[in-house]
């Protein structure tokens, strides 16, 4: 059969990171040795995009199949399809060998060879490279205690399997716990999340590991050995009843992480009243007693009736055995300081999205009253500070700037997906609490893509929000206030007018430490830094390394409904492997010879 097949292989490189991980010369040689290949061309970094450049050669060689090989070679596919058609060949016989998409970044030249071997034989790589199965340990490790991690943990635990839920901070809940409302239903975020947090905290099958991080993972899919570092909490979770006697006497004040710095907390604190586990913890970096090696303070110990504060507690290392690992590490928001012209950090009333979430939250520092910052003297340092005073003046005009750090080649080129909707939600919340306030939305494109989202947008417009198409360019201080300047593209004006408050719709980006975690787990990351799923369309929760799964934003920006859906999907995957007792090995375990053989068999049946 191979006699009638005449294959041409074209290498088109794109200067991506996986191009550094493979050896082009070796690949060219390998391609030449493949059965049926009669033409191999390395077109380098800038292949001509005109089909005319290839037509003649294709006709002369009488090629019946073309393989375009490289990173994202689909970019060049139309060129070759046209060339093939013009040369009188079958345009359907243009095959792609996508190196990066199939994990050449981690797998190197060997992986690229396997991908190429499949493309040459006209067989999908995923069908040919089928890893062997392994026995599976019934326990599961979930990394990240946000809404994704909680959902995964509850699903698996409810099915009767053991889950270890690891969380870096002192409480589970993640970003969702900070939000005021969810879009587009305007549900109270805490009201729908805290019951789930409590269930996770009390579940007999879930072990919470707060203040813990994954240090190392060894073993293989189905039988991982995980090392955790459990940081000292200095408060015994089992005995602490969160009576706040310790907090009352603690003299230290530091900006609260949970309130995104718009309010202070003590050095002994709970992140928020509904925290799970509901116990205090000590911030060792700021605690006077710990910093001074026990020479100063210690007031909380004296006050604690339950005697649950232990300053001598040390960090521990814990070893766990699990069969599956679920990564649900979420995201960080873009640091708005990086775009100086919006004045964040310099102008007091320029707020980021998360700061506003806390400001408008009924459980937040102002009790949900939307106020501007006021200058107040700090009683200790005697310095004037900008603070949110619940009695402070309310803004008469609020501008919301979309796409801060997103869709910007100077920062993050991707769309963060949630900002348009949460910005509209902010507009609603301001209008709801301050009906007289003027609210401006500066957007580039309004991406209201989900169920009920477009209707939500229409509703916001009816509420009298000024929706301005145009990216606002700068916020400047003027006469003690601020002015915002931007082009109204539809109205054909450049607007510049004073506003009292500016909200920056900061985008999402991979969480800090994503790179290290990827290395620890042996999974890939895509160009933007998100964890790389096995197949964008058909396996959005799997990874290169069998037994490691992805849930939530760590795989790519998504909103709460999508995160929860993906989390449940992961739970199904994990349960499938546990119940069947067969996990999937990683693709690295399949040898090149086996893939070639399998591809040959498949090609014969096609």
């Amino acid at each position: 059969m191979m006699d009638s097949v005449r294959i041409g292989v074209y290498f088109c490189w794109r200067g991506t990171s996986s191009a550094d991980c493979v050896n082009p010369k070796e690949l060219v040689g390998y391609a030449q040795r493949q059965p049926g290949v009669c033409l191999v061309r390395d077109l380098g970094l800038h292949p001509p995009l005109s089909p005319k450049a290839y037509q003649k050669e294709i006709r002369a060689k009488g090629l019946t199949r073309i393989v375009v090989a490289g990173d994202s070679p689909g970019y060049y596919k139309p060129t070759f399809t046209t060339a093939m058609m013009e040369a009188g060949g079958d345009p359907g016989e243009v095959r792609l060998a996508s190196f990066r998409e199939h994990g050449a970044e981690a797998g190197g030249t060997l992986r690229a060879k396997a991908v190429l071997a499949c493309a040459v034989r006209g067989v999908p790589y995923g069908l040919a490279a089928v890893p062997a199965t392994t026995p599976v340990h019934p326990d599961t490790l979930v990394i990240g205690g946000g809404v994704a991690g909680i959902q995964v943990a509850l699903e698996i635990a409810d099915a009767g399997k053991r889950v270890h839920l690891v969380e870096r901070t002192g409480t589970i809940g993640g970003h969702m716990a900070m939000f005021d409302k969810t879009f587009p239903t305007l549900d109270c975020a805490a009201c729908i999340l805290t019951p789930k947090m409590v269930s996770a905290g009390q579940h007999e099958n879930i072990t919470l590991w707060t203040l813990s991080e994954v240090l190392g993972v060894s073993g293989h899919p189905g039988a991982f050995r995980v090392t955790l570092r459990k940081k000292a909490r200095h408060v015994d979770i089992a005995t602490c009843v969160a009576c706040h006697a310790c907090e009352d006497v603690c003299p230290v004040r530091v900006p609260s992480e949970f309130d995104n710095g718009i309010a202070n907390r003590k050095a002994i604190y709970t992140p928020f009243p509904q925290a799970v586990p509901n116990a205090y913890l000590i911030d060792a970096e700021h605690c006077t007693y710990i910093i001074s090696d026990g020479k100063k303070c210690g007031a909380c110990v004296k006050k604690c009736l339950k005697e649950c504060i232990h300053f001598d507690e040390q960090d521990e290392t814990v070893e766990l055995e699990v069969g599956n690992i679920v990564v649900a590490t979420g995201y960080d928001v873009f640091d708005a300081r990086r775009i100086e012209r919006y004045g964040y950090g310099a102008l007091p009333n320029v707020l980021t999205a998360l700061e506003f979430e806390r400001l408008t939250n009924a459980a937040g520092p102002t009790g949900g009253r939307i106020v501007m910052k006021t200058l107040k003297q700090n009683r200790r340092t005697k310095e004037d500070e900008w603070v949110f005073d619940p009695e402070g003046p309310q803004p008469a005009s609020v501008a919301i700037v979309h796409c801060v750090g997103s869709r910007d080649n100077n920062h993050n080129p991707w769309c963060s997906r949630v900002c348009c909707m949460y910005s509209l939600k902010f507009a609603h919340l301001v209008k709801e609490k301050l009906p007289q306030a003027r609210v401006y939305e500066y957007y580039i494109d309004m991406r209201t893509f989900g169920k009920g989202y477009e209707q939500f947008f229409e509703r916001i417009k009816e509420e009298g929000v000024f929706v301005v198409r145009g990216r606002s360019a700068k916020v400047t201080a003027q006469n003690g206030g601020m002015t915002i300047r931007g082009e109204d593209i539809v109205g054909d004006h450049v607007q510049e007018f004073p506003v009292d408050m500016v909200l920056l719709a900061v985008g999402l980006q991979p969480a800090e430490g994503t790179g290290e975690l990827a290395k620890t787990l042996g999974i890939g990351r895509d160009e933007d830094g998100w964890f790389h799923e096995l197949d964008y369309n058909l396996d959005p929760t799997g990874t290169e390394r069998g037994g490691v799964h992805l849930a939530g934003v760590c795989q790519g920006p998504k909103d709460i409904p999508d995160t929860v859906a993906q989390a449940s999907a992961v739970a199904a995957r994990v349960l499938r492997s546990i119940v069947s007792g067969r996990g999937r090995e990683s693709r690295d375990s399949v040898s090149l010879a086996a893939i070639e053989e399998r591809a040959r068999e498949l090609a014969a049946t096609l």
Partner: protein, 377 residues
């Protein structure tokens, strides 16, 4: 009337230096950032839009490229890397071609061969012409005043000047026709033309608007260069006999020395800026930019050499230097109205026209409905 779209317009502009125009997604960041973008002239985004839509006629009547001084703010902040500043620059090159009725400007911008061949042929013709003229009169090449007499040169310079002015004025008239009499231009009465007339000379001499950019050094050097150039032009056209007089004529000579220093400083700054890509605006250099700067350096240097040799009493060498100098000057002067340097005329005119248009639009809108001050919902 129907609007004609030219789908190949971006391709045309790319030959004038435009890049990545299609990347623009119209966020409006550039127009809002631009310190010069004021109603009713909002740029560069709208020009990018015209370009993407292929609205050739509208672009021809567009004054906005001339109101941009390419400080580079828009390009630096562009989230898409669509190079709005460079697009405005390429539009200026393109517009020079559109204003020019001979078609030479378009040819030179597109074809390196045509430009260099034109310059070389004119240079050789000039050299041959001067030699033939001198020798047929039986003059000796060693005789400075005899071979190329200042009085005859004066007539030649005036002729050259007339040709130059004729080309610039006819092109400027075409610019007026395209921008002020176009379909979309508001009709302006003679009073408006008179009212803003003073803008022309002040802007021509000071490039005042350039000085409003946040960075002042480029403007100062640009003004030094422009004033030096004008001084030199006036000296040569009007006081040539005094410049070449055997005696020391301090007013013209001092002015000439200052102008030479100014021209050398300006070109050196421009060349080093382009070589080092000092600012965003200097990251992309079109071929025509280099040809012109190098020609100017050549003309100034040969001019100085000629003068020095003359003062040293080396008549023959001075004559040869003079000949080489003229072989640069003549093609330069003929090339000038078709080059980017024609902005000397177009920028003040555009500034002047834009004021007239703004007033005319204000009158029109005052007569009609009041403009909504509030943003659209």
């Amino acid at each position: 009337m129907a609007v004609m779209a030219n789908p190949r317009l971006i391709g045309v502009l790319e030959r004038y230096g435009a890049e990545d125009v299609t990347k623009c997604y119209h966020c409006g960041n550039c127009s809002a950032t631009c310190p010069f973008s004021q109603e009713p002239f909002l740029f560069p985004r709208k020009s990018m839009r015209y370009l993407q839509m292929g609205l050739e006629e509208r672009l021809k009547g567009n004054l906005e490229p001339w109101l941009c001084y390419y400080c580079g703010e828009c390009t630096e902040q562009c989230p898409r890397g669509a190079e709005p500043g460079e697009t405005m620059m390429s539009m200026r090159r393109w517009l020079i071609g559109q204003y020019d009725w001979t078609g030479l400007a378009r040819l030179f911008s597109r074809s390196a061969f045509a430009e260099i061949a034109f310059v070389l042929v004119i240079a050789l013709l000039t050299g041959a012409g001067f030699l033939a003229w001198g020798f047929t009169r039986g003059a000796s090449l060693v005789d400075y005043q005899g071979f190329i007499p200042a009085a005859d040169m004066h007539v030649f310079d005036l002729f050259l000047g007339l040709l130059f002015v004729g080309l610039v004025v006819t092109n400027a008239l075409r610019m007026w026709w395209l921008t002020m009499r176009g379909e979309r231009a508001p009709s302006a009465g003679p009073w408006l033309y008179l009212k803003h007339l003073l803008l022309l000379p002040t802007h021509f001499l000071t490039q005042r608007r350039y000085g409003e950019c946040s960075e002042k050094t480029p403007w100062v050097l640009h003004m030094i260069m422009a004033l030096s150039y004008l001084t030199m032009l006036a000296l040569v056209a009007l006081f040539l006999h005094r410049l070449q007089d055997e005696t020391w004529q301090w007013p013209v000579h001092v002015a000439g020395y200052l102008a030479s220093i100014g021209l050398l400083t300006g070109t050196a700054y421009a060349l080093s800026g382009r070589l080092r890509r000092r600012r965003t605006a200097l990251k992309h250099s079109h071929r025509t930019d280099w040809v012109f700067l190098l020609m100017l350096v050549y003309i100034v240097v040969t001019g100085i050499v000629q003068h020095v040799l003359h003062r040293l009493g080396l008549g023959g060498a001075a004559n040869i230097a003079y000949l080489l100098h003229m072989m640069g000057v003549v093609p330069w002067m003929i090339r000038f109205p078709f080059s980017k340097w024609a902005h000397m005329a177009y920028r003040p005119l555009a500034f002047y026209f834009s004021h007239i248009q703004a007033d005319a639009m204000r009158e029109r809108s005052a007569a009609g409905a009041a403009v909504a001050a509030q943003p659209t919902v």
